[in-house]
């Protein structure tokens, strides 16, 4: 090979580069880059990616070929103190390597623009879903479907969906990798994502913008279901919400409290066996009743007062080894006074059951 390269460098290099480019393209196309495609935008974006990869391979191969060839062919012999040929430039070559990259990137930019227009095209009769990010949980509601509220995202297959994304506190980012689309949730703004789910399955909403201690645990379940299953789910949720309210009024406070605990997002940070949460960002709540008595005494509070105060103003008393400013301070605004009472009672009733 080295002899061929020395004798006929152009031919040898072209041969070597051609083969490497072909191999490279096969490799980049063979790699399974993406998660499954679960929205209609996904195939378009994946194809765009493949085109970018195909365009990249020859560029990289060319650079490598020239660099490696030079190192092998023009390497100085030991003791060689001569200089290379004083070539200062070549206008034609320079015009070529300005023009070709210019054409390449222009073409790719146009293609990228076309895909962008396509995936953001106007939708017909979209399902509106309000998405709300909060340290460190997601809430969803369906304003046109009987105002159903949920902590999991359920979507019908093959229907346009318009997500209206907001946040209660800091920046978050609403991302479902299988849909390929994301947008930041920005304080003071409502941002939008338009897409059409195309594959039945279960995925995750991933928070992609650093939002604090619980950033890596800020996930929510996504289920794409058939339109029939979706309607059934909406109906069931509407019923359970009325039931839930009735249960609270009727006395099943434990169920109502547990629902509040998960729907408000407490479970994203606090361990509580009864609600099957195991996160360790905030203090664990399984021994809350004992702790509430102990810590409450220091400020002459009853356990109820202590728990309530801790939710309303998390910085007022800090459990040892936990920091101020982690827990959002606006739960008192989110919850009605009745809901707050229900939550406090629930927390004290389910904690410390093992140790009466």
């Amino acid at each position: 090979m080295r002899r061929l390269l020395r004798k006929r460098p152009a031919l040898g290099m072209a041969l070597l580069s051609g083969v490497s480019t072909a191999v490279g393209i096969v490799i980049v196309l063979a790699i399974d880059w993406f998660p499954v495609q679960a929205s209609t935008a996904a195939p378009q974006i994946d194809t765009l990616w493949d085109v970018l990869m195909i365009a990249s391979v020859p560029v990289f191969v060319l650079v490598m070929a020239v660099a490696l060839y030079s190192v092998f062919a023009f390497r100085a012999e030991p003791g060689d103190l001569s200089d290379g040929e004083p070539i200062h430039g070549n206008t034609r070559l320079e015009v070529i390597w300005v023009t070709i990259p210019f054409i390449m990137v222009s073409a790719l930019a146009v293609y990228g623009w076309v895909v962008l227009e396509d995936i953001e095209a106007k939708q017909t009769d979209p399902l509106i879903v309000n998405v709300n990010g909060q340290q460190f949980a997601w809430r969803f509601d369906y304003p046109e479907e009987g105002k159903v509220k949920s902590t999991q995202l359920v979507l019908p297959k093959d229907r346009d969906v318009e997500f209206r994304v907001k946040t209660d506190d800091v920046l978050h980012d609403f991302w479902v990798p299988q849909f390929r689309l994301k947008t930041d949730a920005v304080p003071g703004l409502t941002t939008k994502v338009l897409l059409k789910p195309s594959r039945i399955g279960e995925y995750d909403v991933v928070c992609a913008e650093l939002c604090g201690l619980g950033h890596s645990t800020m996930r929510a379940a996504v289920r794409v279901v058939t339109p029939e299953d979706f309607d059934a789910w909406i109906a069931k949720e509407q019923k359970s919400e009325t039931d839930g309210g009735a249960a609270a009024a009727g006395g099943d406070e434990a169920a109502a409290g547990k629902q509040l605990f998960t729907e408000t997002g407490c479970n994203a940070c606090h361990t509580l066996a009864d609600a099957e949460s195991s996160s360790a960002i905030g203090p664990g709540l399984d021994e809350l009743s004992a702790n509430a008595e102990k810590f409450g005494k220091q400020d002459k509070q009853s356990p109820e007062e202590y728990v309530k105060a801790s939710i309303e103003d998390p910085g007022a008393f800090l459990v040892p080894n936990f920091n101020d400013g982690v827990m959002p301070a606006d739960y008192a605004k989110q919850l009605s006074p009745e809901e707050l009472d229900t939550l406090v009672k629930y927390l004290l009733s389910v904690s410390g059951e093992e140790k009466p």
Partner: protein, 639 residues
Amino acid sequence: MTLGAKLRGPGWYRAVISQPLGLAFAVGLVALVRALYGYDPVLDGDAITTVALIVMPIAFIVGIGCFDYWFRWASGAPTVPEDHSGHGAKTWRDYFKVNTDHKVIGIQYIVTTFIFFILGGLMAMVIRAELAQPGTQFVDPNTYNGLFSVHASLMIFLFIIPVFAGIANYVIPLMIGAPDMAFPRLNALSFWMLPTAGVMMVASFFADGGAFATGWTAYAPISTETPIGQQFFTIGVQFAGASSIATALNFLVTIITMRAPGMTFWRMPLLVWANFTTSLLVVIATPFIAGSQFFVLMDRSLGTHFFDPAAGGDVLMYQHVFWFYSHPAVYIMMLPGFGIVSEVISTHSRKPVFGYRMMAFSLVAIVILGFTVWAHHMFVSGMANWMRVPMMITTMLIAVPTGIKIFSWLATLWKGVIHLTTPLLFALGFITMFTLGGISGIVLAVIPVVIHVSDTYFIVAHIHYVLFGGSVFTIFAGLYHWYPKMTGRMYDEKLGKLHFWLSFVFFNLTFGPMHFVGVDGMPRRVADYADQFATLNALISVSSFFFGLSFLVFLYNMITSWRHGPKAAANPWRAHSIEWQVSSPPPIFNFDEIPTVVGGPYEYGVPGAVHAVFGDKKAPVEATPAPAGGGGAPPPTTE
């Protein structure tokens, strides 16, 4: 000297004493103001910390002696115009003093920044240990967020940006035939602001509530709400930024006014061009990050509402202002490296830089285009939709001048006489990985793809390919290249090559797989991740530990060679540029006689060509005709 005299005079005694005084001043000021306003309690920890973070570094800089000369002058006391008492280093102790010699300052910069590079690297090791498997192993989420935030801040503000300033400090005045920088005392001040910023960022780990944990981007509003550790970043950046701006001004004035006779702009080595253009970027862009951090500081400390939408604030404003600096900052961290690579490739392959003028023009083109692309960091931020496509196009256009540079380096290698020394190996490694980083950069301009991969490990892979495979490899190339000039000793070539191969292989094994986990759905800045990414993350972590160890080879080589390496000749690489025409290390004022420049800096292979002549040898002013590709324009007749 008596102790009293030591405490009054500039130096470490006074610097150390200044610290409790600074703290006392902060406590007093806070107590006074809060008492006047009737606030309770009068002593507030956060307020005192904030004021102390501003006062104590200034007290240190005054204490160590950066302002003594100016104070004396301002107060009308007698000064010595040609005061060279603080110039040059005779013993190692002189490196710990305020020194006005650009060569001493260059070494001070390089050693200091490498200390922070090591600290930042150790943090990366802890990060990779934590990420070696899913779940929580070594550090809690708060510490983890602090680690990656401080890691990035140190690497950017305390290593890559200032180490280039350090190399340029040493080399640029020598290269242009100047006895020093234009403003030697400002130069010393620039250096001494730097360690204060670095110490501040590292010290944030000891703050109540932990280190700043909002990433090096410190996006509002989370940065206005997190514990006091954030203040260490907000204020630290001001000192690093001020240092950066002052140095850049110094470079601009030096390069514009202090070139040797005959050194026209078209005869400047490309490293000088690179630092000229970089300094333009620094001077124009750095005030913007200072502004963004002042907004955060005021929101945190003074109760303003720049980023509180409920009170009329605008969250996206932070990102626009921040990236208006931080995108050009990418070029601040890359253009000097381009300059180094041009020097190294030309010298070690014995050929003129191919297309010299286009190389200089492409630097200028990158500076201009660099200011028109910031919003490509914000494609999913919720900003105005119309901005995306224009920014995609400008971003992709930067590939054209960057391509010119890559192709011209390749053409410089072509038909050269290639000496595969350590600096050239690092330059070639740089070309390889920077091409990959450039390609992923193109991918990261195409909006539909960015919507998926932004904020994922693909970004982490990309920035490490451009900033480590790109910038840091050029830093290594430059340090090996100028090591004989700086120390007067040769480094160990075998160890240098070992360092190259270890870092090249393990760099790619560490950061290559991050492309895959990113596209597959792993977000960045997470302390924990889904099990599906476990295998590749384990590989990444193991590779990163070997990658970290490879640095020890470099460290050992640098330290032992400095003490025991063979003496270096004045010009071991047989280079043409001026810094190689003086002894290694150079005399205290660089030149016994100012050289006269008579031709281009890279006239390898041109019979009898020289770049500069010294002394009585009558300068053959028209020695080399201007070649087609530039390099030897005749000097103006007025000189």
